[in-house]
């Protein structure tokens, strides 16, 4: 603000100086006592115009030089990030419109709202919008997807709430409507090395279940998620999550405990006390600086849709091997991952135990190219004799970190006895400041 004032004062001083210099010259140039000849008036006017132009060019030149000097000054001055930006050009306050302070109107100055550089905007959350456009061709009689589908638009809002917590919101806009995909508060300063979340979020069950669609290496989600975790969206519910590091000399170990309302695709709460429970233990270890293993086991339990006396329990095991050479980290990486699920669902006619799994690998073979394969095999939760299975191959192109184009060939042999051969396409694109993902 001070620099802006100083600058306008300088410009004004230069202006006054130039006019003061110009005036005596103009008056001296007037022929004394002579009849005002038209040509002379014309000449004077031209002279004045020339002077005005000169003055304007001088003013502009000084203006630019002053701006450059200010930029240099602010670059030299130590200060917080962003201090180097020029101060807001808008006045912090505007004059009260005439009469406003009269009958009950506000007295004094009114704040200016909507200024593009208003300081309040600094506290706006990081906002990003991620589009997920899908296409499908080929045959599928069991689970057909539309030929084109603006499947989901995800809007994310992330910011620190106060010194004690941060908040993350992920709103999903789809043809079915708007859904709170996730919305939670994370407490950052709990004693005992605890990290707690409250809100609605993806449950920490295995790997794929915790990821958003745009984080997957595939167009679709593995069949086992739909068959044994209650739908393609997976486990996602309102509740409380607490996790803690278990420090030891050998590896990274994290234990998580969660309790939920008990109404996701998999569970149904018949009574306020019908909550669902989840426990997870995750280990991680660096084998070399480029290679690491990540493994975990999860258990989830809750009442199901059959009735208040019927429960579903799913046990999962996941393992991931990653390779990414540090010197060539932007060109090469490999990841192999598998998840196994055992479901036990109580029904009228007795408990059904079903198993499902997927195994996949992804290989980055050039800076922008990835190839992948996946194999799915899964029984269905309500009838273990029904098995869906099949392979997929994938090719992904990354124009940049902010967009991906993906093609997937998928062949699924459904339990109904039909085989679906499909080519799936995906365009993923992201704008705004999307927060970094958890490893």
């Amino acid at each position: 603000m001070a620099t802006a004032n100083w600058r306008s004062r300088m410009v004004r001083a230069i202006a006054c100086g130039s006019i003061a210099l110009a005036l005596p010259w103009v008056s001296a140039a007037q022929p004394p006592g002579a009849a005002a000849e038209r040509s002379e008036a014309q000449a004077l006017r031209e002279e004045l115009d020339r002077l005005r132009r000169e003055f304007e060019s001088v003013r502009d030149a000084y203006g630019t030089r002053l701006t450059a000097l200010e930029a240099k000054l602010s670059a030299l001055e130590p200060g917080p990030p962003g201090a180097a930006q020029p101060p807001p050009a808008l006045p912090a306050e505007a004059a009260v419109p005439a009469g406003a302070s009269g009958a009950g109107g506000p007295a004094g100055q009114l704040p200016v709202y909507g200024g593009t550089t208003a300081l309040s905007k600094i506290f706006n959350p990081d906002i990003a919008v991620i589009g997920n456009f899908l296409g499908a061709v080929g045959e599928n009689d069991v689970n057909p997807a539309p030929v084109f589908d603006m499947n989901e638009v995800e809007a994310t809002f992330q910011a620190v709430v106060d010194p004690y917590a941060r908040a993350d919101f992920f709103l999903a806009f789809s043809p079915e409507g708007v859904e709170i995909e996730e919305g939670y508060l994370t407490f950052l300063s709990l004693p005992g090395g605890l990290l707690a979340k409250v809100g609605k979020f993806k449950q920490q069950f295995g790997k794929v279940n915790t990821l958003h669609p745009h984080q997957l290496s595939w167009v679709d989600s593995p069949i086992v998620i739909g068959n044994l975790l209650g739908g393609e969206e997976g486990l996602n519910d309102a509740g409380v999550s607490v996790s803690r590091l278990i420090l030891n000399p050998w590896m990274f170990l994290e234990a998580t405990g969660e309790v939920y309302r008990g109404s996701s695709g998999l569970f149904e709460s018949h009574d306020r006390g019908d909550v669902s429970w989840l426990g997870r233990l995750r280990g991680y270890r660096d084998l070399t600086e480029s290679t690491n293993v990540d493994f975990g086991t999860s258990l989830v339990w809750g009442r199901n849709d059959v009735g208040p006396d019927f429960a579903t329990r799913v046990v999962g095991f996941d393992a991931t091997l990653r390779y990414r050479p540090l010197r060539r980290a932007i060109y090469r990486r490999f990841m192999a991952r598998s998840e196994l699920f055992w479901s036990r669902r109580e029904q009228e006619e007795g408990a059904v135990s079903a198993f499902g799994m997927y195994a996949s690998s992804d290989y980055q073979f050039a800076r922008r190219w990835f190839a992948g394969v996946r194999y799915d095999w899964s029984e269905r939760a309500h009838d273990a004799s029904l098995v869906d299975k099949g392979p997929s191959v994938l090719l992904t192109f990354w124009p940049s970190e902010f967009s991906q184009i993906r093609g997937q060939y998928r062949r699924v042999r459904y339990a109904e006895g039909v085989t679906a051969n499909e080519a799936l396409f995906q365009f993923l694109f992201s704008i705004g400041a999307h927060g970094a993902h958890i490893f």
Binding site: P81, R166, T186, P249, Y284, R328, R367, S400
Partner: protein, 314 residues
């Protein structure tokens, strides 16, 4: 194979020893420092001496923009008293979730144990006007490779000295002495490097990424083009052709490439223009010979001067 096994066993034993040493209170309180890069770690070591134990996250031969936020870093950060970051959004893609998951309130932004080393440094390339991602991976807060000028190294060292003094005031005099010593060696180095580069003022070069602005400003080099068409965007045929023409026109003999970029395009450009590709480490640890901040400039200036002499670049 056995040596690798021995190394693994050794590192396990070391990790065990470290875990044990952190579990039992040390005889004298040392500050646990985590630095996001080896450059920051080196300067912390210069100032902190034996009163600190410091561990870097990104390796010197690794692209610091693209670091995987591995859980093993969470453990390092869990016990840290101080986190030193390069800042200017260099670590924006990977550091924030690590800080949250470290469950360590001491090192969160805004806490005393969080030091953004860029705050007192001279920052170049701060974009003005409208910024969009059409400009590539543009850093709205300026060029984050600012440590590549010795004068900024001195400013970083001063910030670190102030921070260490704030956190471990009992050792204030010690940090002061260490800073003075570092400052002296850096000043001697600056004279040496500037002397070596004096006769090449205004030398035009091409670099792969926009990492060398501060370095070039300090030593009078003129970076006239980049192998990347835009920051973070891989080389494109059209841009490469244009660059080749420009390099021929200006008779440019030197292409600087950071160790983590592919040499295919730079080599092709070099074949076409008669220039030489130099893989120059922008960070401590980028090559084996560069073990600390002063050696980074010794190595790079030597490398550059011998390349200039060999190619007869003007």
């Amino acid at each position: 194979m056995t040596s690798r096994f021995q190394m693994l066993a050794g590192s396990i034993a070391l990790a065990g020893a470290l875990a044990l040493s952190t579990a039992s209170p040390a005889a004298r309180a040392t500050l646990n420092v985590v630095a996001t890069t080896e450059d920051m770690a080196s300067i912390v070591r210069e100032i902190g001496g034996d009163r600190v134990s410091v561990e870097p996250i990104a390796r010197g031969y690794q692209d610091p923009h693209f670091v995987e936020p591995k859980p093993s870093y969470i453990i390092r950060m869990h016990n840290a008293d101080l986190l030193v970051v390069v800042g200017r959004e260099l670590e924006a893609a990977w550091l924030p979730p690590l800080i949250t998951q470290s469950r360590n309130g001491k090192i969160r932004p805004g806490s005393p144990g969080y030091l953004d080393a860029s705050l007192d440094a001279v920052i170049t390339d701060i974009p003005t006007g409208q910024i969009t991602r059409a400009m590539g991976d543009v850093h709205p807060q300026g060029n984050p490779h600012y440590w590549l000028s010795p004068s900024n190294g001195r400013r970083i060292a001063k910030s670190i000295q102030n921070k260490l003094t704030e956190l471990g005031s009992a050792d204030a005099a010690y940090f002061e002495t260490r800073y003075a010593d570092f400052d002296r060696r850096l000043s001697e180095g600056e004279k040496r490097w500037k002397n070596a580069m004096a006769s090449y003022k205004g030398l035009k070069i091409v670099t792969y990424h926009r990492s060398w602005t501060n370095f070039a400003n300090e030593f009078g080099l003129d970076v006239v083009g980049y192998v990347e068409p835009k920051p973070g965007i891989p080389p494109s045929p059209a841009h490469t052709l244009m660059l080749i023409q420009e390099m021929k026109r200006l008779a440019i003999r030197i292409i600087l490439v950071e160790p983590y970029f592919d040499l295919k395009t730079p080599n092709a450009i070099a074949r076409d223009t008669g220039a030489t590709v130099i893989v120059m480490p922008p960070s401590v640890g980028g090559v084996r010979e560069v073990r600390n901040y002063v050696e980074l400039f010794d190595y790079n200036v030597n490398l550059l001067v011998s390349a200039i002499k060999k190619t007869g670049a003007r």
